[in-house]
Symmetry: C2
Subunit: 366 residues, 2 copies
């Protein structure tokens, strides 16, 4: 996103952060989490702080981004290139700005060591943990963000369609992963939101398997969990294939997981507790006798980060709201045999959840 | 690395951590930084704590890794699968272990919020910031690690040789990035240590450019900065190409940067301050009149992480020691025109620095 077309967007986001600061009686907020900085300013570099004050905003970064920052930064945000460390530069910004003493920091992201360095550099500041001010705001996406996420879903599905032809006996997980990443990049994914999971046969029962040299055999389940990144925004999807006719147990767990996806999707709507969406999926799986075989959450928010708010699991305390984009990804894992996970992305609208995926959810026999 | 062949290695590393704990009068160390956990235990998952006590070690993780952890974990380390959050499970381990009250934590990595959650979950513990105990130990590599890093260098250079043939007029940065990642994966890189930087023409003056749709033109400099990951260990290298005969200014800055690489490599040896290696490179560049055009550090350690200890820059307080593996990557950036960065990896041995790269350092005209 260039500063030009997104000026209004960034200014609006900044205003909403300032409203929250006002409500929290904070004089300023120091943002250090890079996805939050990107959302507020457009900056894509790997080292920065963004200081948001009532009447100004300053990005503090280092030499490496001196040129890049001018291209990327939204209007109305000043830049300071730190001479040595960022902490000292933040301290000078705070002094120069004449801001009040109560400065919020992102306690979910700042390390103990950086907190100490900030304390030492900025003697007069009263630092206050500010929780997830920016993360909360980011969880409800605007139309432009949903459009970018939808494009990331399209890119992922285009790549999957192309790779599907290469799934055959003898091909290895790591070869399929290489093909998938190649197709994702050529289809428009600037980088990978995460390393694809390609898990075949019994390895499909490992929820976070890394692609191995194992080669596909007839009778194997194949799990592909991957995503694309387009204009900063991620997608995340999982589909299953089977080489040759599926066994009865494969069809059974597939049907259970697919029904869990359906029920969770039906349950998702604004005002619904995220944990109730999780329960909708979990109940289907438990009723089928596989409750012990689905140990992770049903989903998570997706945006600039591939895992962000809201969480959709049994411990989640968040309530879904319009604009949330979350995954629905129930699973059944049978250790030593194989597993099935299916993952869609949905956007929460006023009328309920709309599935962003178009790639069929059938168990595809190859 | 499977637990089988590396048992001795992991046991040795664990013993060295325990020696440090003893010196620091700590009763235990809670390791949360995943690369540190991997180095100590072999575990590759994305969510865990490793509790190191004098007579035992326990990995706390979640359901997703129940099966995987058995394959990966070094002998002698117990596993706890957390029912809900990891903090509660850590608290129970500490209670069950009957360990003393002084438990070190990794203040460079633990967030303020997680520190608070640990404090609440583990009432009786006196938490002590333990600095970089594991990171310090990791910075001196053993032969097995240097061998893995060397293989990661080979994989990167194999991929580069294959991609070189595709550098021609009209090809875009993002296409070259896709080819590079594809070749890296097929050559044996299980994942990317970082997204490759592919920067052509004036964009080569952006130290951290992301591949764009810009297409190569005659007269362009092309900068490729990328790496591979093999058996957990990374490589990181930068090479330059020029399309057609180079301009005089291109040859000039290339020669300066290449001489800076040579001098810094000569300067690197055990017992030498890392900042003196940085100065060796910086002096060459400043003497040539480009001092203002090289604003980042000369290098960084590489291992399980692509950026780790020791830092090689003007503010570095570290002294090089045998076993360190660092990059040497001076640069000259001319905004609006182009830049040159060259990056090798060297291992510090008793007699000085040995360059791990074999790919020529010449400005390759295509």
């Amino acid at each position: 996103m260039s500063s030009g077309d997104a000026w209004g967007t960034h200014a609006l986001r900044m205003r909403r952060v300032r409203d929250r600061l006002h409500e929290s009686r904070l004089d300023a907020l120091l943002v250090g989490h890079l996805p939050n900085i990107r959302w507020l300013s457009g900056f894509t570099g790997s080292s920065a702080f963004l200081l948001v004050e009532p009447g100004s905003a300053t990005l503090v970064t280092d030499f490496r981004y001196r040129t890049q920052v001018d291209e990327e930064l939204a209007d109305g945000i000043s830049v300071t290139i730190a001479e040595s460390d960022l902490f000292g530069a933040v301290a000078r910004c705070l002094e120069d700005g004449g801001t009040g003493p109560r400065v919020g920091f992102e306690d979910h992201h700042l390390t103990i060591r950086d907190r100490r360095a900030l304390g030492e550099a900025c003697g007069a500041v009263m630092w206050e943990p500010a929780g997830r001010i920016v993360g909360d705001l980011r969880s409800a996406k605007d139309d432009e963000e949903i459009e970018a996420i939808s494009r990331a879903v399209r890119v992922a599905e285009t790549a999957l369609s192309e790779v599907e032809a290469q799934i055959s006996e003898g091909v290895s997980e790591s070869e399929l992963a290489a093909e998938l990443v190649y197709r994702l990049r050529l289809a428009g994914s600037a980088s990978m939101p995460f390393d694809p999971i390609v898990a075949s046969g019994p390895r499909s029962a490992l929820p976070h398997a890394q692609p191995s040299e194992r080669r596909m055999r007839v009778g194997d389940l194949l799990l592909l969990d991957f995503g694309a990144r387009v204009d900063a925004y991620c997608s995340d999807m999982t589909r299953m294939f089977v080489l040759g006719p599926p066994a009865e147990w494969q069809v059974e767990i597939y049907s259970v997981v697919r029904e869990a996806v359906r029920r969770a999707t039906e349950a998702a709507a604004p005002g619904i507790a995220a944990r109730d969406v999780d329960r909708a999926a979990r109940t289907v799986i438990a009723d089928a006798g596989f409750g012990e075989r689905f140990g992770h959450g049903t989903g998570h928010g997706v945006g600039i980060e591939v895992h962000e708010q809201p969480s959709v699991n049994a411990r989640s305390r968040e309530t879904l709201q319009a604009g949330n984009v979350v995954t629905i990804e129930p699973a059944v894992y049978l250790p030593g045999r194989g597993g099935v996970r299916l993952e869609n992305m949905v956007v929460i609208g006023d009328a309920g959840a709309t599935v962003l995926n178009r790639f069929p959810l059938d168990l595809k026999q190859l």
